[in-house]
């Protein structure tokens, strides 16, 4: 029997993997993918809490759908930035790109 804890544990693992990825990846696309992992970890929580704690009809699902939609918009902005970075430096390693200071 899968309990709420299982979902939360899965979500926590996914979140940690995501955070680790964001902090350690050099590749900008990799960072974007890791951010998606973090968001989906949150989504799992939302849907699981709705299922197990009996929140009103559909709230958690709707929230998760919102997150998915907004994540899509976020990824678009992220990819635009990646293209901009690529045009500037001919690569997408974020540690090569430290021009955004002072």
């Amino acid at each position: 029997m899968i309990s709420l804890n299982h979902y939360m544990f899965l979500s926590a693992i996914l979140f940690c993997i995501g955070v680790f990825g964001v902090l350690t990846r050099r590749n900008a696309i990799g960072i974007l993918i890791s951010i998606e992992l973090i968001l989906n970890a949150a989504n799992i929580n939302l849907v699981a809490f709705q299922r197990y704690l009996g929140t009103p009809d559909g709230l958690g699902q709707i929230f998760a759908l919102f997150v998915v939609a907004i994540a899509a918009a976020g990824s678009v902005v992220g990819l635009v930035l990646v293209i901009a970075i690529y045009r500037n430096g001919k690569n997408i390693f974020v540690d090569n790109f430290n021009l955004m200071k002072w």
């Binding site: 902090l23 009809d57 559909g58 974020v94 540690d95 955004m100 200071k101 002072w102």
Partner: protein
């Protein structure tokens, strides 16, 4: 079993997209075997449907919101079974053909991945039992058509054509989606089975708007006027793809949608008539353009627009069986024609029919099958096109006099341009050096032969000779299905087809000079200037607005921003050293901060 049919090609897509590079040549066979299996299951489904009548399998519930559950499932009835058979048979043959046609392409496995996804989407679309599921696959079909039309994206024309197809059909899709939501709010149901007993009383206007919006989606997908502009440009894709798009998948989806939602149109006579009129306009307009075009594939493309128009016309005058029958026969002979055109292009490396001629001697199999396909399309008995076109003419004759005239004129033009194509490509003296032309490999000629067998015989199942078996199959509830046999219409149909062919023979083989149609000719050659009109009405104003917005943004908004920035710049000098410029550094600070915060919070909680 029916719900597993789309899974076979989808599995082939997954395999090819992930392991295609390693599979290399074998990727084609993965794809062919998958659609072959889908075909076998479809045949089995057909017999099942014949035995136990219609079935609908609910697979699950997607979302339940405030009492309206969105269920999804598959529907198995005469219409979907017919489409399943057509799609799987044609797709399998086209994939076999592609083995030869795409040989040596650098993205060989990618091609077979896309074409498998295309097939899977179309099969899912056909099986869907509600609007939402259909719309999902509808978009899947749109995506695949984009990927495949722009398959040779190194060529700017191909990339643009893919984009054009995607955007143009998207305009229709937007209307379709609004129509779906309107229908949901009116009937509180999205299942097709509920359309049959929909009650329009009191809400006629809204139901009509919903029907028209749904039809607008079909207009985009089936390349009907005014959204037909993408289809001729879609010829930039590989020819096998053109065959698939034009025969079994993409454009058939629009006609299928109208047939699937037919009860909704029957309840709105005005909307139904509109379907017929749009079909009539498309049929006549595209047929007339096809008579002057010089690109072998574009002639066929306009022919498709025209034939789809005829199907819409047939549906629009209430000929449900006629429209769907033509959809089926057309799938076979149009696939055949495109594959023949591909074979010709493969041999002469040109698409301009003015540079061809005399190819029959060089390519006997392609030539023979090409002639069979052309005769079927022209409506010469007893080939497939004759019977189905005859049904449409008959429906129109009873339904709408004006549209009947349009259908007759379209049939005449169809016979004329197909005969023109045959005479210019296959016969006469070669107009360029064709000594290097040779017959295509077996993998390409085999599908041609199979399809030409279909093109000859598939029409018979809906003919009076077989007691209108197809009509009884697609409309089982009509009871003793009395389809009349109108010999007057049949003779007229034969007569106009032969007139068209003879006229083309006289003009293109015997050098008969037609009276000069200078202005009309230029109008047709420029496709009624529809692209240019769209350029002027939509593209240029949009660009002008964009330029204005850019200027405002550049001068005013940027001015404010830059002014603010220069103020802040001076202040910020104080905090500069904290910034390293590396985004991951900042993230690290953030994560460490959060962890410390949580630790403090946790410590406080435990203390108290």
């Amino acid at each position: 079993m029916a719900q597993f049919i789309p899974l076979f090609p989808f599995l082939a897509f997954v395999i090819n997209i992930f392991f295609g590079k390693r599979l290399n040549q074998a990727s084609a066979w993965v794809s062919i075997v998958a659609s072959g299996m889908a075909m076998l299951v479809s045949i089995q489904t057909f017999f099942e449907q014949q035995a136990h009548q219609n079935g609908s399998i609910v697979l699950g519930e997607w979302l339940s919101l405030y009492g309206v559950p969105l269920k999804f499932g598959v529907t198995v009835d005469a219409l979907s079974v017919m489409m399943l058979l057509v799609v799987t048979i044609v797709a399998t043959l086209i994939k076999i053909y592609s083995v030869g046609y795409m040989h040596g392409d650098p993205r060989y496995s990618r091609y077979f991945a896309y074409i498998s996804l295309f097939t899977a989407s179309m099969l899912g679309l056909v099986l869907a039992d509600n609007f939402i599921l259909l719309y999902i696959f509808w978009e899947g079909v749109g995506l695949c058509s984009y990927l495949l039309i722009a398959f040779w994206f190194e060529r700017p024309a191909a990339a643009k054509a893919g984009l054009k197809a995607f955007i143009t059909t998207r305009i229709g899709d937007t209307g379709f989606l609004i129509g779906i939501f309107l229908l949901l709010s009116l009937t509180h149901s999205l299942r097709f089975s509920d359309l049959a007993h929909v009650n329009v009383a009191g809400n006629e206007t809204f139901f009509m708007v919903a029907a028209l919006l749904i039809f607008f989606g079909a207009v985009g997908k089936s390349a009907q006027f005014p959204l037909h502009v993408w289809l001729p440009d879609a010829m930039e894709g590989p020819t096998a793809i053109s065959a698939l798009i034009h025969a079994a998948t993409m454009v058939a989806a629009g006609v299928y949608l109208v047939a699937r939602t037919f009860p909704l149109f029957l309840a709105n006579p005005a909307a139904l008539e509109f379907v017929g009129i749009i079909g009539g306009i498309s049929a006549l307009m595209a047929a007339s353009i096809a008579t002057v075009n010089n690109d072998i594939k574009r002639v066929l493309a306009y022919s498709t627009v025209s034939q789809l128009g005829l199907m819409m016309l047939g549906l629009g005058v209430g000929g449900y069986a006629a429209g769907t029958f033509h959809l089926m026969t057309h799938a076979f002979f149009k696939a055949l024609l495109f594959l023949c055109a591909g074979s010709v292009i493969h041999a002469v490396h040109s698409q301009d029919i003015r540079t061809m001629g005399g190819l029959f001697a060089k390519m006997k199999i392609t030539g023979m099958t090409f002639i069979i396909g052309a005769l079927a399309l022209a409506g010469v008995p007893p080939l497939a096109g004759f019977w189905s076109k005859d049904e449409i003419l008959l429906s129109a004759y009873h339904g709408h006099q004006g549209l009947f005239m349009v259908a007759v004129l379209t049939s005449f033009l169809t016979a004329f341009y197909m005969a023109r194509l045959i005479f210019l490509v296959l016969f006469g003296k070669p107009r360029s050096d064709i000594s290097h032309a040779h017959e295509s490999p077996v993998s390409m000629t085999f599908p041609l032969i199979v399809l030409s067998v279909f093109a000859i015989f598939v029409g018979l199942i809906g003919s009076p000779l077989a007691g209108h078996a197809f009509q009884a199959f697609i409309l089982p509830h009509e009871g003793a299905h009395e389809v009349e046999i109108n010999s007057m219409i049949m003779w007229l149909s034969v007569l106009i087809a032969l007139t068209g062919i003879v006229l083309a023979f006289l003009v293109y083989m015997k050098g008969l000079k037609l009276p000069a149609f200078g202005g009309l000719y230029r109008l047709l050659l420029n496709k009624y200037y529809v692209d240019e009109i769209y350029q002027e009405i939509f593209v240029k104003p949009a660009l002008a607005v964009c330029r204005g917005a850019f200027g405002f943004d550049f001068r005013f908004i940027d001015g404010i921003v830059n002014g603010t920035a220069s103020c802040v710049q001076r202040l910020s000098a104080i905090f500069r050293p904290l910034q390293t410029g590396l985004v991951q550094n900042y993230l690290l600070f953030q994560v460490v901060g959060i962890i410390i915060f949580i630790l403090i919070l946790g410590g406080l909680c435990f203390r108290f």
